[in-house]
């Protein structure tokens, strides 16, 4: 058996390789480390099949990226060592030869993943593992994952790598195959699956199983712990398809592979026809014979003096750069991959330039977010650029040696520096091309999106300034690694390792940016503030890293391999010899590193305190430890806040002179005042209007206590004055603070201002974190049934507010309240604001070069709710004065302003009619720089990040900005007028009700059709895989429940009991629960809802709010026949089931006796989104099957149960089906297998 002999020899050969063992080690360590590093929060076990599956997929990905060498080596070694004339002439059949080699590679690759599992086991059963997180050993958990996830991936990948390498006769092609697989299967598969929504194609393209990992997101912890991956459904076909691909490419290798000598290294031309070259080759050999007599003619070669001036070296660098560039540009993948990706990115713009289906304005600000990922992020398809750099750097460094021409190169009078710089410059030229492709991608994107204001200069700055620098630094590092390692495949692995380090430092706990190569404190571009706020720290960090890379480059020049002597000792010896020449450069590099490093360190660690994530946590922990004892200390309440703020945008600084007016509203005397301040932010010049002496001044944790000589008696008040200085001290490791910037300052109270008493919100929330720091465990949110928590009303207390703000002359400053006066003094502009009704103690101050647009809304007098609020606490504030609605926006972002004003006006009108009057004379909306698309509400003020203004709703599409605006306006009622207790379910009272209110406005103003559009867009989130395990709405604890499930529940209820009844309940809630303790909870809401619901539907209120209910509704049969009367008789067979799922995912079937709609629809007419409703009625439906016979007057098209998808059903498609006409055979009974 020759095949076996080849296999045996090959495996032994590969096992003697250092890199093979390195791969084994890498995966062993990976398997070990990953299970020790991750934290599984949802109760999933570490040895659960789901966990193993997830990390198998993860490791598969890494293996595909770095494991291309084995198959590449096995397929091509004979060519590499020029042994193929020997092995090809040996009496070995092609089948044995290729078969043996392939099997060897396959076995070794499988062994690598086997080592991964070994790593898992050592991690799980080794010392230091908490057995609580481990369930009993189950062999099937490992076997199924290995067999269904790992093995097929390895078989297919190895086959493809082997084919690439064998046919191109270059081992590196194994890596190219890996890149191709990643691009096709990962980027392609994910795009097809999620962006284009082609589920089957996308699922089949997915080789690694990422779609399974995504599906698992939707598994409950119990499922993750028990459910095994099975070869079924689409996954079965996927594995079969990839197996077929493996067989196919191997067959291709078998037929295409030539066991003969090939004179020309054919490189990439896997499938190219070679006839042209063969011709010219044939000619060569015959001609040489004829020419022999003429060779070495005596021609005098002109003698030109050579010179070795600086200009010559420059010329040499350029020549080497040029050839290096051509190497990359001339290879198939060099420029094309990035170009194709760039063009694709541009052409598919409409797929991602949208937010919940709303297209975006392709402003450069927006487009750049897609084109300029940080070097340290892997969540981008531009990860291809670093990968290509790693690959081509190795090609460039090894080019001469692989061609065997190195001795010619090594003896030319080119200094090492010139050789290194030549290659680096060549790489730089390639990267420059890539950057221009990115720019083209951006421009195509803008063309596709119909945006024609091309800000080329911004592109140039972002791509050729910021991104180019990063990639250059990276390329230099990789070149240096390849030079120093001096072993191609080891070099590739070290380079990938270095890249991995850059990518995963956050996971490794390394946070200081001075330790992460080429990193910086981040940047982004915005129309409002440009690059400015980020520029200074960015430049310093890049200068620092450029110094390092200069040093690295000099080291690479010292160790540049230029001879046969590649042993370590010899290289040291040569480096010492070269040192003489490179000493000045080395010294300059060292000085630069020290200078720049010193300056950066001075900024990050001396001028600013260097704080890691754990330090911030520790501050909170210590704060809680030291001061939680004062939690219940009786404190005065804030009555008035007066500020004098001087903003200096150009200096990024501001001074806040504050006066707090505090009143003792308790019935005991208070002898000491407690303040929570911002940690590490000093408050200066503190003074009181009565004798007070500091007892505790803890600026590090942020707590102060002042002792009052004369206690503050009930009803007494005290004035406190202090100064907060917002000033940049250079920059920290986190960059710069963005509160005060050149244009778009946004000073939030919570970021700077002291508050009264101990602040419980500063505690650590996560159970694991608290455990780690030894703090008593407490729920993230107090329980719904925690009565005491309803009396904590600090967030609901109201203050009067006044502010005088000075800013630069060309800016407008805004704070809550009516504008009292505006004046200019010197080159500064001043604004004086004062509230005419109290606000929550939550405000922000804005300053920017705003444009302003205004509208006025005059409430109609004599609304029906007047008597409702007659007895509420602030009747005087709720008057019918006109309200000034103002939008402060960046002048260029003016597309949505009218829509915002309209939405705000209509919303105020609707809400004040339905829920009660708006208390303030002003309503302001302000823009600030940032990518976010949402808005944030404060009393009488809403702010939004620029991302919101970039939404471009289409006339026939969803008007999301309108809805968001309306939602935020609703918060003036839901959140501010009604301030719920901070317990479970509070989000339902704030966010769900704001959304539900906005839905009413949308329906009223934009029409029912539009509401349906909104609902169907929102419903899509139900289709995202999600665990069914969740608490009921009353105890809602996450944004899905608050923003999606909650509003839907109200909408369903409204469909069953009517809009007015639901609003009655809400009005009643507002009336009964004003902002005084005990604060309202969802229990109050529940009671009001029950009160307006008839007895027959009480079960529904319970199912929607008090239980986590899912309906499984399905129409099995729908047939019709025409009756003699001309009517159509429809027969329906439906199946129904209802389950309740608890927060651990345990399902309980609930018997049904529910009212559910049964509907029949006519065929859809042209330009209508749905067919006409010809029958719709609620029927009582029990669990199990039920048959309906309905007579309708028109020919039905489709029919079924719950056609409007009112009830929560994870499978919406099977609710209705096409109606079959009796007697007519359906051709497509079951459609396809896939």
């Amino acid at each position: 058996m020759k095949c076996r002999e080849i296999l045996r020899f090959e495996i032994r050969y590969l096992l003697r390789h250092f890199s093979t063992w390195l791969l084994f080690l890498v995966f062993l360590v990976f398997g070990f480390i990953i299970l020790r590093l991750v934290t599984l929060t949802d109760g999933t076990n570490y040895n659960a099949p789901g966990t193993i599956a997830f990390f198998t997929i993860f490791a598969n990905f890494i293996w595909v990226v770095i494991g291309g060498g084995i198959a590449g080596e096995a397929a091509t070694r004979d060519f590499q060592i020029n042994m193929h004339p020997l092995s090809f002439t040996a009496p070995v059949s092609k089948r044995s030869y290729l078969g043996g080699r392939f099997l060897a590679a396959l076995i070794l690759n499988l062994m690598i993943l086997f080592f991964l599992y070994l790593g898992f086991l050592i991690s799980l059963y080794g010392p230091g593992f908490n057995p609580e997180f481990r369930s009993p050993f189950r062999f099937a958990s490992y076997l199924t994952n290995f067999a269904y996830l790992a093995v097929p991936t390895v078989v297919a990948t190895t086959s493809i790598q082997f084919t690439f390498a064998a046919l191109s006769r270059r081992p590196i092609a194994g890596y190219l195959a890996s890149i191709a697989i990643i691009i096709f299967s990962q980027f392609g598969g994910t795009t097809v699956l999620y962006a284009l929504d082609w589920k089957v194609t996308g699922g089949l393209m997915d080789l690694l199983g990422t779609s399974i990992a995504a599906d698992m997101e939707g598994w409950s912890p119990i499922e993750k712990n028990t459910r095994l991956i099975r070869l079924e459904g689409l996954w079965f076909w996927n594995r079969l398809l990839w197996f077929a691909i493996a067989v196919g490419v191997l067959a291709l290798t078998y037929f295409k592979f030539n066991m003969r000598h090939v004179t020309q290294n054919s490189g990439w031309n896997l499938f190219r026809r070679r006839s042209a070259e063969k011709l010219s080759k044939g000619k060569t050999s015959s001609e040489t014979a004829v020419e022999k007599h003429r060779i070495f003619q005596s021609i005098t070669v002109p003698k030109f003096p050579r010179n070795f001036r600086f200009a010559t070296y420059v010329r040499q660098v350029l020549a080497l750069a040029h050839t290096s560039f051509l190497v990359v540009a001339g290879s198939r993948a060099g420029l094309t991959i990035v170009a194709i990706l760039a063009i694709g990115t541009g052409l598919f713009a409409t797929e991602y330039m949208q937010f919940f289906g709303v297209p975006l304005y392709a402003r450069t600000e927006e487009v750049l977010r897609i084109l300029t990922p940080a070097l340290g992020t892997y969540k981008t398809h531009w990860i291809i650029i670093p990968l290509l750099i790693i690959f081509y750097a190795s090609e460039l460094i090894w080019r001469e040696r692989e061609a065997g021409i190195n001795e010619l190169y090594d003896t030319v009078p080119v200094p090492e520096a010139v050789a290194f710089l030549g290659k680096f410059l060549g790489m730089a030229m390639v990267i420059a091309f890539w950057m221009s492709f990115l720019m083209i991608a951006g421009i195509i994107n803008q063309l596709i999106m119909g945006y024609y204001n091309f800000e080329i200069l911004v592109y140039v700055k972002a791509l050729f300034g910021f991104q180019f620098t990063n990639y250059l630094l990276f390329a230099l590092l990789i070149l240096v690694i390849h030079v120093l390692v001096n072993q191609k495949y080891l070099g590739l692995m070290v380079a990938l390792g270095a890249y991995g380090f850059i990518l995963f430092t956050p996971t490794l706990g390394i946070e200081h940016k001075m330790l992460i190569y080429a990193s910086d404190t981040g940047w982004s571009y915005s129309d409002m503030s440009g690059f400015d706020p980020f520029l200074k720290p960015w430049l310093w960090f890049k200068f620092y890293w450029a110094s390092w890379s200069f040093l690295l480059a000099v080291i690479a020049m010292l160790f540049w391999v230029r001879s046969r002597e590649s042993e370590f000792g010899a290289r040291i010896y040569q480096a010492r010899h070269r040192l003489g020449n490179y000493k000045p450069a080395l010294i300059i590099a060292l000085i630069l590193v020290l200078l720049s490093g010193g300056f950066v360190f001075y900024n990050t660690n001396i001028r600013n305190e260097y704080l890691q994530k754990s330090d911030y946590m520790e501050t909170r922990v210590e704060y809680e430890r030291h001061y939680s004892k004062y939690k219940s200390a009786v404190q005065p309440e804030m009555a008035v806040t007066k500020l004098h703020v001087e903003i200096y945008p150009e200096e990024n600084s501001a001074e806040i002179h504050a006066t707090y007016h505090l009143v003792n509203r308790s019935n005991v005397s208070i002898d000491s005042l407690h303040f929570t301040t911002i940690p590490r932010q000093e408050i200066e010049n503190v003074s009181f209007d009565r004798q007070a002496s500091p007892v505790v001044i803890d600026d590090k944790l942020g707590y102060r206590i002042y002792f009052l000589e004369e206690p503050l008696n009930p009803g007494d008040s005290i004035l406190m004055k202090f100064l907060v200085n917002i000033r940049q001290h250079g920059f920290s490791n986190d960059g710069v603070d963005l509160s005060v910037i050149g244009n778009g300052s946004h000073i939030k109270r919570g970021d700077w201002m002291p508050t009264i008493g101990f602040d419980d919100d500063r505690r650590l929330y996560e159970e694991r974190d608290r455990e780690k720091f030894g703090l008593p465990v407490r729920p993230i949110r107090p329980s719904l049934y925690d009565v005491e928590a309803r009396y904590d009303d600090r967030h609901a207390q109201q203050i009067n507010f006044e502010a005088v703000i000075g800013t630069a002359k060309d800016q407008i400053a805004v704070a809550p309240g009516a504008l009292q006066r505006e004046w200019t003094k010197g080159d500064r502009r001043y604004f004086h604001y004062a509230t005419n009704a109290p606000i929550h103690n939550d405000y922000a101050i804005f300053s920017a070069q705003y444009a302003v647009r205004e509208a006025e809304w005059v409430p109609e007098p004599g609304e029906n709710f007047a008597e409702i609020f007659a007895d509420s606490i602030q009747p005087s504030n709720r008057t019918s004065k006109p309200v000034k609605i103002q939008v402060f926006y960046h002048p260029e972002h003016d597309e949505n302003i009218d829509r915002m004003l309209k939405s705000a006006k209509v919303s105020m009108e609707y809400y004040s009619k339905e829920f009660g009057p708006y208390p303030y004379s002003h309503f302001r909306v302000l823009e600030r720089p940032g990518p976010g698309r949402g808005m944030h509400a404060e009393p009488m003020t809403i702010d939004y990040a620029s991302g919101y203004s970039l939404m471009n709703p289409q006339p026939d599409g969803l008007d999301l900005p309108y809805h968001i605006m309306s939602h935020e306006v609703a918060h003036q009622w839901w959140g501010f007028y009604l301030s719920p207790a901070t317990v479970e379910g509070s989000g339902v009272l704030v966010e769900s009700l704001a959304t539900y209110s906005a839905m009413q406005v949308v329906e009223e103003a934009l029409g029912y059709e539009h509401l349906m559009r909104y609902l169907s867009q929102m419903r899509q989130e139900y289709e995202v895989p999600r665990s069914q395990a969740a608490p009921p709405l009353l105890r809602a604890n996450n944004s899905f429940l608050n923003y999606r499930k909650g509003p839907f529940a109200f909408y369903v209820l409204r469909n069953y009991i009517g809009k007015d009844r639901v609003n009655d309940a809400l009005r009643q809630l507002l009336k009964e629960k004003p902002s005084e303790p005990p604060l309202p909870t969802t229990l109050d809401l529940y009671r009001e809802l029950q009160a307006v619901t008839p007895d027959t539907l009480q079960y529904l209120v319970k199912d929607l709010f008090a239980e986590n209910t899912f309906w499984e509704l399905k129409t099995d049969v729908a047939t019709t026949k025409k009756l003699e009367t001309g009517m159509w008789q429809v027969t329906l067979e439906v199946k129904a089931r209802k389950i309740a799922v608890d927060s651990m995912g345990i399902e309980t079937e609930v018997p049904m006796k529910d009212w559910i709609e049964i509907g029949v629809y006519a065929p859809r007419e042209k330009d209508k989104s749905s067919g006409k409703e010809i029958y719709l009625k609620k029927h009582r439906i029990n669990s199990g099957k039920k048959r309906f016979i309905i007579n309708v007057s028109e020919e039905p098209n489709n029919a079924g149960i719950d056609p409007n998808h009112l009830l929560i059903d994870l499978n919406l498609q099977n609710n209705t089906r096409k109606v079959k006409i009796d007697g007519v055979k359906e051709e497509e009974e079951e459609k396809g297998i896939l």
């Binding site: 060779i295 002109p302 200009a311 061609a403």
Partner: protein, 296 residues
């Protein structure tokens, strides 16, 4: 200009001692370095070509310390390695032009002329636009020569250049080298005696890392005059002859064996004196006959 090699030794990490205390003085002219395969020729050549480091010893080229001022050496060096590859997709003209830049011919016009002349000289002019991947072994070798000749090197090191050439090519190539030797140091390593005998003004024989003899070929041959004897014998009596005489070489001629022996006197026994040639010098040296004056 003179290349001076003093006490050069080199041992590889696998224990093979490639050079043992080599001392040579190489003047301008064509210098032959003769030795069997594995004698240490290539090691010596690569050390001279700045590609390897000796363990000890010094080399100087005029004022240049070859081991320390590598870049200075490279500025006057032409090197043709024993084996080398080319970029299959490059064209001869482009690659030669590229090397011309690297060799310091920065002026574009000068470079154009030099490249053209060299391509003509090596008779690759007609093939200048052809990809190197399609070149035959001899053409590739000539291309290497063109690269080595770029920039009028003062020191030319050619390592076994004639191995891939056919007889005619070989002769012309050697002529070219000897022309170059008129004002440069040209060192030619070879294991073919004819390469040296025809043109080299001086030569050395190296074996197992040691220089056995350094001489002018003509003088070395003269030194053997009357001392080489020949006899055609039957193969079966060879052991007897070997026992009785100092056999330096045996050769087959039409099925019979021709024996050359070294003897200062007439050995009789049917041996006839022959006119010695360089081959006899080589074989005599290799056979390890002690010869008092190593330098003749």
């Amino acid at each position: 200009m003179e290349l001076q090699i003093n006490n050069l030794s080199k041992t590889y990490s696998n224990g093979v001692q490639a050079l043992k205390d080599v001392n040579l003085t190489i003047p301008t002219g064509l210098y032959g370095l003769l030795g069997p395969n594995g004698a240490g020729k290539s090691t010596l050549m690569r050390i001279l070509a700045t590609l390897q480091e000796p363990d000890s010893g010094t080399i100087s080229l005029g004022d240049i310390d070859v081991l320390k001022q590598k870049n200075e050496v490279r500025k006057t060096l032409g090197y043709l390695p024993q084996e080398f590859g080319v970029y299959p997709k490059s064209r001869a003209e482009d690659l030669l032009n590229h090397f011309a830049i690297l060799k310091g011919i920065a002026d574009r016009r000068a470079r154009k002329e030099v490249v053209e002349a060299l391509l003509k000289q090596t008779n690759l002019w007609d093939k200048r636009r052809q990809k190197l991947g399609g070149y035959s072994g001899g053409m590739k070798q000539r291309f290497g020569v063109a690269v080595a000749l770029l920039g009028n090197p003062k020191v030319m090191i050619v390592d076994e250049p004639t191995a891939g050439l056919d007889p005619a090519e070989r002769v012309r190539f050697l002529n070219l080298l000897s022309e170059l030797g008129e004002n440069s140091v040209v060192i030619l390593s070879t294991h073919i005696v004819e390469d040296v005998s025809e043109l080299c003004t001086r030569m050395a024989i190296i074996d197992q890392g040691q220089i056995l003899i350094e001489a002018e070929p003509i003088k070395a041959i003269e030194g053997l005059k009357g001392k080489i004897w020949r006899k055609i014998i039957d193969k079966t009596v060879l052991p007897v002859v070997e026992r009785e005489h100092k056999v330096i070489s045996t050769k087959l001629l039409s099925g019979r064996t021709v024996v050359h022996i070294y003897s200062t006197e007439n050995p009789g026994n049917g041996f006839e004196v022959v006119e010695p040639d360089l081959e006899d010098v080589y074989f005599k040296t290799m056979a390890g006959q002690p010869e008092t004056p190593t330098v003749l």
